[in-house]
Assembly symmetry: C2
Homo-oligomer: 297 residues x 2
Amino acid sequence: MFRIKSMEGVLMKNALLKLYNSLKKQVNRNLISTTLSDIISDIYFDNRKFLNGMEKIPLKSNVAEKKYFSFGKEKKLSRPINLNIYLEDEKTIVDFINAVKTNDYSKINAENITKACYTIAIGFCSVIDLLKTGDQKTPGTFFEYFIGHLFARKLNISPKKKLEVLNLGMRATLPTDFVFDPGSDKTKIHLPVKTSTRERVIQVWAHQRVLDGVYGVGRFRGILVGLSETKLDSKRHIVTEICLPDQWRLYQMFIAQLSRVYYLDPPKTYSQLNNAFPKITVLPFGNFFFEIEDLLD
Amino acid sequence: MFRIKSMEGVLMKNALLKLYNSLKKQVNRNLISTTLSDIISDIYFDNRKFLNGMEKIPLKSNVAEKKYFSFGKEKKLSRPINLNIYLEDEKTIVDFINAVKTNDYSKINAENITKACYTIAIGFCSVIDLLKTGDQKTPGTFFEYFIGHLFARKLNISPKKKLEVLNLGMRATLPTDFVFDPGSDKTKIHLPVKTSTRERVIQVWAHQRVLDGVYGVGRFRGILVGLSETKLDSKRHIVTEICLPDQWRLYQMFIAQLSRVYYLDPPKTYSQLNNAFPKITVLPFGNFFFEIEDLLD
């Protein structure tokens, strides 16, 4: 039974908040450590237990070739979940967490990595959707930490969130998304992470432009990681995708150039930008683990 | 007495909503017409009546040389209002509205224009703060229409909110803030309007960059109009200003160049950018009416 105000719901919420707080503490301490992988795994299993007690409500999908459902009951619904990439089975998740902890991705393929990450991320977001009202910050922060941790483990680098700018007598600090610096003379990574982008995405290109200006074009590779671009009409139970491909093309032509955009649930409209001018390479997130070395050459 | 749920409060809210709806209708019809000036004047007088029934609660100001208060009662407070530029007296407002309607600003000076505009804008925002909870959209929309109307009257041009982009086989529409086009071979204006900016301000420079890229550098003058940058700690009744001058300098150096930033309540930190490199010209809004012809030469 789904009742947030039941004793079970309260206990669940407290347990999740406790885990979420230990996640935040660990992130501040060390974004690379396997302790963080374990906390993420614990959060997944807690969420899974909670979501297994919910109803799965089918949604009408206006997105070609994708089916969506929500967890919830009656009027309270989680965000839409892509049926084809949400894993019911925990085995792939366990394999993935092991790969993260050992930094060995040879026994799991890109497709299953994308599914495992999607399941962990959308699961957390859905639990927050159901336990709280209008909270976009917690899902966004979790997603940022989660992706940041995966990059940190894979690259074996602790990211920074600000950079020093020294410019003819001006000394300022530029707050950034995650930046990963493998050392001088090596390509660095600028990693914005967003659960969804909409109009705000122009910020990503603008930050890349500032980095290009301050440190020189090509010094930082811009990599955007997104969760999905779905929008739910919660009264009529209809899912759509909100995409602005023409604007992305203008940003890529006139503001700066992003090297990659990875999605956990890639919108087809954006994947088609792989074949347009200006080319924007949009790929499922799992691909990152198998091409990042080449990108940093 | 301040009681939102009193009959008087409900009538007030209904009257304001009715006026606000007629404002929106008129904006869609014609942003230039004096009908809109009259509606704005009506809204001001309605707001004034409502706010005169409120308490004026002094705030502790952490902003040098500025004193602030809020309208409200007990825990419900309006946003902070700058005591030195908020007009108690309606005469200057009436003079200003007349100047707008006749497009003759010879009998009012820049300082009084800034005060009149501040009083109208912050008054509307404060009424919404008191009548609703967490509504940032309505104040933002009103402020955008208000400033858009003043530019449209002054320039005698109806602005657009999107531009056609034609680029080697690509045909896209670029949604923009207001753009004013005085005709071919004349400088055009790109006018973003924000009640406050914070981190989101990078969007303004990024949009300017796209316009520079698509239409050529110098084709559009970017003019940002802001209301204020105050932040209220509503528990402790403390006002601060949130400014990010170093980031503005990086944006002005590395993304695009804004021609002017006008504020109704100019933060000193930003006014100081007039004397720094890169120079960003930050002025009280009233100055616009006396220098715009020169800017468009």
